[in-house]
Amino acid sequence: MSEDFEPNIVAFLCNWCSYAGADLAGTSRVHYPANIKVIRVMCSGRVNPLYVMNALQQGADGVLVSGCHPGDCHYMEGNYYARRRLGIFKELLEFVGVDSRRFHMSWVSASEGHKWKEVVEKTVEDVRAAGPFKGFRRWQIDW
């Protein structure tokens, strides 16, 4: 893997916990790598696992989904559904040969700005180690 490879990572954050946690990291001026780019959704339960597939297909080298801790979901149970569906989806990705380091999920609460930083660092480190994702990127196909 080339040392200077900068992974491109798409993250889906729930509005109430993880997005707020990431905001808190900002207000606290906690620095972390710029590789992560966030899409805000209302709840981690909104994250259709096919988004992960789509992100990989559309040019992401890795994907992160983050929501409220179990029991803390603003909508009561959305994160539980997300955990189950994304958990089984991760199994599928691994089975078809997508490096498990490319897709992570985390719980980050609105008060965990520092945890957000750690999660980002871990994700970036993992995706960097996994290398650029060529897999089934859409427009690499020569046509």
Binding site: Y19, H31, A34, R40, G59
Partner: protein, 666 residues
């Protein structure tokens, strides 16, 4: 159809907050070339009045129909800018925020990287903005009435406030009388007001208020609908006494074959009542109730040669044929004020509560010290078989509170003060008593509390820091085994009576209410408020509010304050007469919905129902969203296999282009 998107992108410097790490000019220049972007500008403070004026001017003069502000988090100023664009006649949901401060400039230090990322964030916002749809915030009428569940001091206070404001109140109480826990108390700390004296007038007001419909001995069975429009079904349990006829004279209770043979709930089992009873003398309504679990007529179908109560009742109010009655009504808001249970001291077997009659709980102490209590206010307990007036008394605090071993890590907030109060009352009643209080900490945080605590200590009540490990009997004395942790001295205190300052716990039957109103519990198992600081009386269910100890332990002043808070929150929809429904709700494409009901399963708000529609001659089931209940979380849409249900503003067709923009090579 909406017009072809004409987007204005506004990149904020935020002083140097953004521009120090993000080359805002480069971002604007990049944005300018994105599809459908009509113009891109930068400005020092977009949220300032001139910043907003800039946007408004462009909407007016350039005919922008979408606006993107690349600035701070949408959690900061989304509403500010929505309002701004709305003032120019644009749909507020055509405003999109690109968060390049909290999640970009403030967290990265390499300007090149941060700028590149800011460009992607803006590109993602543009990708979404092009596909946004105008949304309307709908309003529906709100029923100008409230339901209050629980008629303790919280429920009573909330009812009176709402009723006084001119709205109809349905006050539903499970037990035969209003009053709740406060009615059981003798005096209140720190002022030593007689609890009954200050509560009773409010109880009476409740019953007589023209706007309050009081339903005692009743339970809420079903709640349907949403804020502004709840339909409530209440079961009025049969009292077997016609309350319209009963005069409350009490002859029936005296006549009852089981008179003074059933332990009184109100007296915490220390006093006795009949099978037909008034829970306590000041009960409201002052109407008798037959206890169906004990009454011989109701349990065995016969009572001697005939029920004596019926015979004794001059008014002829007894009716063994009475049936439960179901009433249904509509309200616009609901306040839950269901109160608490006290900690069951037998769960700490080391304190011998189940073994020794002279180990009593704080609430039992309240009844003991009360002049209307089972002993008429005399302090008498049984020491074994012998009834004594205790001279050596120990209080143990934090029983069932701050105790992970029983699953209650929280502080119950009232025990310190009621212990001080009871110590004071004991000192009054038994001036020569030796009184010791075993404590972990003393929390006297309220107005006048610390002063009261000081006063009690000066009254020769000795506070010893230590958490007793055991209570056992030695001879005819109870021995409290404890270590004084200030002096590290092990002690064995021989006493005549121990008062356990039991804490407050969530009610055992709270699950019923949770299911009824879709409420959640917090970690301490009390009801979960919408926000611990900023929305302490709201719940996740719109239109449902919390008051009193059902949300967490609190003393009377706090309970009343919270009840008043809940009342004023509940009155918002009632006073407005309308409720605004969240515009970012889910919507179903009925032409592709296959009616599997997955969405119904996952919706936490029961906002989706299955309906049968006619699709070109075929009856098919499809999902339909009740927009008033939907909160727009979107969980429904990610389980929908046919993508038929989609949250507005967060549709797949709006998110996938965002993914493409962030991932993509564009």
């Amino acid at each position: 159809m909406t017009d072809k998107p004409k987007i204005g992108v506004y990149v904020c410097h935020c002083g140097i907050n953004i521009s120090a790490t993000v080359d805002v000019e480069a971002v604007a220049e990049y944005a300018q070339n994105l599809p459908n972007v009509h113009l891109a500008r930068t400005y020092s403070y977009m949220c300032s009045d001139p910043g907003q004026a800039l946007i408004k001017k462009d909407i007016r003069e350039q005919g922008l129909n979408r606006v993107i502000v690349a600035s701070c988090s949408p959690r900061m100023h989304e509403n500010t800018f929505r309002k701004a664009v709305q003032e120019e006649g644009l749909n507020p949901y055509f405003l999109e925020i690109a968060n390049i401060r909290e999640q970009c400039s403030w967290v990265h230090d390499n300007k090149e990287e941060a700028t590149a990322k800011a460009k992607k964030i803006v590109a993602s916002a543009v990708a979404k903005s092009r596909l946004l749809e105008p949304l309307e915030s709908k309003e529906v009428d709100a029923e100008p009435a409230a339901l209050i569940i629980g008629a303790g001091i919280a429920g009573i206070q909330a009812s009176l406030d709402i009723a006084d404001a001119g709205f109809k109140v349905y006050l539903v109480e499970k037990s035969p009388s209003v009053g709740g826990r406060m009615a059981q108390l003798d005096k209140t700390f720190p002022t030593l007001d007689c609890s009954a004296c200050i509560l009773t007038p409010k109880m009476v007001d409740c019953a007589s208020h023209p706007n309050i419909e009081l339903m005692t001995y009743s339970e809420v069975e079903e709640v349907d609908g949403f804020v502004g429009n709840f339909t409530v079904r209440v079961r009025k349990k049969a009292r077997y006494v016609d309350v319209n006829i009963c005069t409350g004279c009490g002859e029936c209770a005296k006549a009852c074959r089981l008179a003074n043979r059933i332990s009184s709930e109100f007296d915490e089992g220390m006093g006795q009542r009949s099978a037909i009873y008034l829970p306590f003398p000041q009960a409201v309504p002052a109407k008798y109730t037959i206890d169906p679990e004990n009454c011989l007529m109701l349990t065995r179908g016969k009572c001697g040669k005939g029920p004596r109560c019926e015979e004794a009742c001059q008014a002829g109010a007894i009716n063994f044929e009475q049936q439960d009655e179901i009433v249904e009504f509509k309200v616009g808001a609901i306040i839950v004020a269901t109160g608490f249970d006290t900690f069951d001291a037998s769960r700490k077997p080391e304190y011998g509560y189940s073994d020794y009659p002279n180990v009593i709980t704080g609430l039992e102490m309240e009844r003991l010290v009360s002049s209307s209590g089972p002993t008429g206010g005399e302090i008498k307990v049984f020491n074994g078989e012998e009834e004594i007036v205790p001279k050596e008394i120990a209080f143990i605090k934090c029983v069932g509170s701050r105790d992970a071993s029983v699953g209650n890590e929280y502080c119950s907030r009232v025990c310190c003060m009621y212990t001080a109060k009871q110590a004071h009352l004991l000192r009054e009643k038994i001036p020569d008593a030796r009184i010791r209080v075993y404590y972990m900490d003393v929390r006297a945080f309220g107005k006048g509390y610390e002063e009261f605590y000081d006063r009690v200590r000066r009254e020769n009540v000795r506070y010893i820091r230590g958490n007793p490990s055991e209570i056992f009997k030695r001879g005819n004395k109870l021995v409290v085994k404890v270590e004084d942790t200030l002096t590290s001295t092990p002690l064995e205190d021989e006493v005549d009576m121990v008062v356990l300052a039991v804490g407050l716990e969530p009610r055992a039957d709270m699950r019923q209410v949770m299911d009824l109103l879709r409420l959640s519990q917090s970690g301490d198992r009390f009801f979960l408020e919408a926000h611990p600081k900023l929305r302490p009386v709201d719940t996740a269910t719109d239109g449902v509010f919390l008051a009193g100890c059902c949300q967490g332990p609190k003393d009377i002043p706090d309970t009343v304050a919270q009840a008043k808070g809940a009342a004023s929150s509940a009155m918002v929809p009632l006073a407005r007469g309308k409720v605004t429904i969240n515009a970012q709700v889910a919507t179903v494409d009925e032409s592709t919905c296959r009616g599997c009901g997955y969405c119904v399963n996952v919706c936490p708000y029961s906002a989706i129902e299955m309906v049968t529609i006619n699709r070109f001659g075929h009856e098919v089931e499809v999902a339909r969203v009740n927009e008033a209940l939907c909160k727009g979380c979107g969980s429904c849409s990610s389980v929908c296999l046919s993508d038929s249900i989609q949250p507005k503003s967060f549709r797949d067709r709006q998110i996938l282009p965002q993914i493409a923009a962030l991932g993509g090579m564009s």
